[in-house]
């Protein structure tokens, strides 16, 4: 163990890997598939509800549906249930808008003890900030490509 440090590091990695518990990827994928699907089904239910009882069309129903899902996420996060669901569902709760909502809301709750401005305001987008940044940036790039292609008459 005291000889060449570089070989010991690789040797140790080998030894440690034998004992490591792997993430149950297949189980996680199946859980995520069904849980993500369930959330989308609920979303569809909410959308249908708004279209049926209120003056929304298929084009305009997206916003109130998203808002409702985020509101439900807020309640589940605030009551401390969401993180337990997420441990089971994984990507199933992270990928839909609920995951984004939870990232914002959990950070806001966590930093309430540092006040509204420096605490909640300063930390609310700690996790979700990069989602917004790269979301907007990739939308910009895609729009740019489309505009150029249209200008050149390719599409």
């Amino acid at each position: 163990m005291d000889k060449s440090p570089s070989t010991t590091k690789t040797q140790y990695k080998k030894l440690a890997q034998k004992k490591e518990l792997k993430r149950p990827i297949l189980k996680n994928c199946i859980n995520a598939f069904f849980f993500g699907g369930l959330i989308c089904t609920i979303g569809q239910g909410i959308a249908t509800f708004y279209m049926y009882f209120f003056d929304f069309t298929e084009q305009t129903v997206g916003n109130p549906t998203t808002a409702t899902l985020i509101f439900i996420t807020m309640l589940l996060t605030g009551f401390g249930v969401y993180d337990h669901i997420a441990q089971f569902a994984g990507a199933g709760t992270a990928v839909p808008v609920t995951g984004f909502g939870n990232a914002v809301i959990s950070a806001a709750i966590e930093h309430r003890s540092e006040g509204f401005v420096q605490g909640v305001g300063g930390n609310m987008f700690k996790l979700a900030g990069s989602v917004i940044l790269f979301g907007v940036f990739s939308a910009f790039i895609v729009a740019l490509i489309k505009t150029l292609l249209l200008e050149w008459g390719v599409i």
């Binding site: 163990m1 590091k9 030894l15 996060t77 709760t93 959990s106 003890s113 700690k126 996790l127």
Partner: protein
């Protein structure tokens, strides 16, 4: 007295005469719940922030230790303690409240044994006759600093660990009744290039094995000298790795007497992934369960090897590997 490379032997019998252990709600449902002096039913401890709750944990543990033997902070020469929060503020604020001359310590989750080793050394060298020492951690305060917000729904891998909410302290005296601290080995920082902060056991195991091997070598004893060798928070994976790694060094650790605090504190049905961790983990198990066992003579010679991962969220994001340390302290019924 220094023996061997990095071990102190204490011939003047520093004695643990009193302890104080408090825990949070999750610990109250654990295996060792009856060893706590007080269990708080709420993670907030009726405070305004998790950090203040953290401070109250330590304060409360100290008060329990005093109450048991009718002493006050005025009788104590030094407070040697630490925690995991930035600039160890929960301990600093407790020291402010108690008004005991204070030495703040940090070795991540090995803080408990670093503090006990220093305390025993001061008592042994007659530079003090009563020292308060310990460590604490608070699950939500630590998660907030090192990982994600408490309510964030990130899926944790099975190698992750659960930070203990609790504080354990001991009063160390040059005389009195109780188990004696007989020796201590101060560990070196060992880094085997591991980078996964969700697998601390794997990163810390080499440090634990190095310290155990050095300790046994310095004292000139076999592992079987101790009734138990107990690591701090290697948890499931780290413990198994440590046994294998020790074997490569021709050091045979008996599966039944090589225990881990991180695997002792919770029930099997509690969702803690690989096991418990945190500065409070080794502190509450040592000053609670293990000292009880020593006092009841169910155990007579134990070696506690607290393990710490010396990382910060910054070093992890900057893709540095995880340096680790382990400090060992032997506690025995009867002196050296």
């Amino acid at each position: 007295m220094l023996i061997g490379k990095q071990t102190w032997e204490f011939e003047n019998t520093p004695t643990i005469i009193s302890t104080g252990i408090v825990g949070g709600p999750f610990e109250g449902n654990g295996k060792l719940s009856n060893t706590f002096d007080q269990i708080y039913a709420d993670l907030w401890l009726e405070q305004n922030s998790f950090e203040q709750a953290h401070q109250l944990l330590l304060e409360s543990a100290c008060n329990h230790a005093f109450k048991k033997i009718n002493r006050t902070p005025a009788n104590v020469q030094f407070l040697i303690a630490g925690d995991l929060i930035n600039q160890i503020t929960p301990t600093n604020f407790t020291a402010k409240k108690l008004q005991i001359p204070y030495i703040g310590t940090f070795s991540a989750c090995a803080t408990s044994m670093e503090s006990l080793a220093l305390a025993a050394n001061l008592i042994n060298s007659k530079n003090a006759n009563l020292i308060l020492t310990g460590a604490s951690s608070h699950n939500a305060a630590v998660e907030k600093q090192f990982r994600y917000p408490t309510e964030y729904g990130g899926q944790k891998p099975p190698t992750a660990q659960w930070t203990v909410t609790g504080a354990g302290v001991g009063l160390l005296s040059d005389k009195g009744k109780g188990p004696k601290v007989t020796s201590a080995t101060i560990g070196k920082v060992i880094d085997m290039g591991m980078t996964d902060p969700f697998n601390m056991g794997e990163a810390m195991a080499p440090a634990a094995v190095d310290t155990i091997a050095t300790h046994l070598n310095d004292r000139g004893i076999e592992a079987s000298y101790y009734d138990c060798i107990i690591t701090g928070d290697l948890a499931k994976i780290g413990r198994l790795i440590a046994i294998d790694l020790a074997k490569e060094k021709n050091l045979f650790l008996n599966e039944d007497s090589f225990l881990d605090c991180g695997l002792m504190i919770y029930n099997n049905d509690q969702e803690v992934f690989a096991g418990a961790s945190g500065a409070g983990c080794s502190a509450v198990v040592t000053y609670g369960h293990l000292i009880n066992q020593l006092n009841e003579k169910k155990l007579n010679k134990i070696l506690i090897v607290a393990t710490g991962a010396l990382l910060s969220p910054l070093t992890v994001q900057q893709k540095q590997s995880i340096p680790c340390i382990a400090h060992a302290v032997s506690i025995e019924n009867g002196g050296v």
